[in-house]
């Protein structure tokens, strides 16, 4: 009976949404606002990746909120899982996971710097190629995850993570405030736009995405480290 009710509800929701969407034909026109963005982004901002231009410049305040949500999630996990934690250092490995095999360890050692390099490349070139701060930060965190699961004794210094996070956040907000001083509004793009398709272009967009990349990488690494170090506290 209950399942029947749930299926009825699901079918109702599905049919209603599909009914609304049949008014929006697939693969046809764009909205007016995106035509504006597509026009402005290469001509005024000199940014070739329009998605980056929208995320960091046109909707920069929204991105600041997004970064704040990510920070709150990281801080929330820390406080939800809080326990009087014994210090986890090189001499006092607390992870119970078994040591990975030699092949994984050697491979991880080789791959780790390359993964970090790829992540850095992606967030530095966020305004030229697909990708950006969030994606690059996520890739950097996967590099740290590889090290965390292959070496039991590998540990992330939480004070270092906190410092990187705070400095990156301060850079973002500071650029916004500088925009207020020089341009009139918060997060105004006050630096010269430069040349389309060159690395130094787009004014503050590149700097903000580098800060976001560091922040996201540090936060995700912190989250992974917290979640991996929690299980052995059980016993």
């Amino acid at each position: 009976m209950k399942k029947l009710l749930i299926f009825g509800l699901l079918i109702f929701i599905g049919v209603e949404i599909l009914d609304v969407l049949s008014e929006v034909p697939f693969g046809e026109d764009r909205m007016k606002v995106s035509n504006f963005y597509l026009e402005k982004s290469p001509e005024v901002l000199k940014v070739s990746n329009v998605v980056t231009a929208i995320v960091v410049n046109f909707r920069g305040f929204d991105t600041l909120g997004e970064v704040t949500v990510l920070f709150l999630a990281a801080a929330g996990i820390g406080s939800i899982l809080y326990r009087r934690r014994s210090v986890h250092t090189e001499l006092n490995p607390k992870r119970t996971s078994t040591e990975a095999s030699n092949i994984v360890q050697a491979g991880a050692k080789v791959l780790f710097p390359l993964i970090i390099l790829l992540g850095a490349y992606i967030f530095v070139h966020g305004h030229l190629t697909p990708g950006g701060g969030f994606q690059g930060g996520a890739i950097i965190a996967t590099g740290f995850l590889l090290m965390l699961i292959s070496y039991r004794k590998f540990f992330v210094k939480h004070s270092g993570v906190t410092w990187i996070e705070s400095i990156a956040g301060i850079v973002f907000v500071g650029l916004g405030l500088l925009g207020m001083v020089y341009g009139g509004t918060f997060l105004e793009n006050f630096l010269p736009a430069g040349e389309l398709n060159s690395l130094i272009s787009g004014g503050i967009i590149g700097i903000i995405y580098i800060a976001v990349g560091f922040k996201v990488g540090a936060e995700l690494t912190g989250v992974l480290d917290t979640l991996l170090n929690i299980s052995q506290d059980e016993e």
Partner: protein, 120 residues
């Protein structure tokens, strides 16, 4: 053909969303509920990106070869929104999993039928 594409792609996205809602409503295992929320997210992202697509469109990135190709580009606004939504989805999943770990510590089970505190 156009109808098939419209209903096929939107239908897939909506099917994923409904699958997520079904998991959240029916499953009793908290981890599976979190997975359901995650699937719901994926369906929503697919729907957004599908709405922004235009036939024969390219990625909204200007390359040195084709500066003037703006009229063939897909809608960048839903893509930017999905970028935001993915990050928020990550935050939701991470906090939900942390709460599950906390509940497990208290009750030694992740079956919500056995967690009596949830009933009133």
């Amino acid at each position: 053909m156009q109808d098939f594409l419209t209903y096929g792609i939107y239908g897939t996205a909506i099917f994923l969303m409904l699958l997520g809602v079904y998991a959240v409503l029916v499953k009793r295992n908290l981890i599976k509920i979190v997975i359901g929320l995650s699937i719901l997210d994926s369906g929503l992202h697919l729907l957004f990106v599908a709405i922004g697509f235009i036939s024969g469109g390219t990625a909204p990135i200007f390359s040195p070869m084709a500066i003037e190709s703006a009229n063939k580009m897909v809608d960048p606004v839903p893509q930017a929104l999905v970028l935001t939504a993915i990050v928020i989805g990550f935050g939701v999943t991470a906090v939900a999993l942390a709460l599950v770990i906390r509940l497990y510590r208290h009750h030694n089970t992740i079956n919500i039928d056995e967690i009596k505190n949830l009933k009133w």
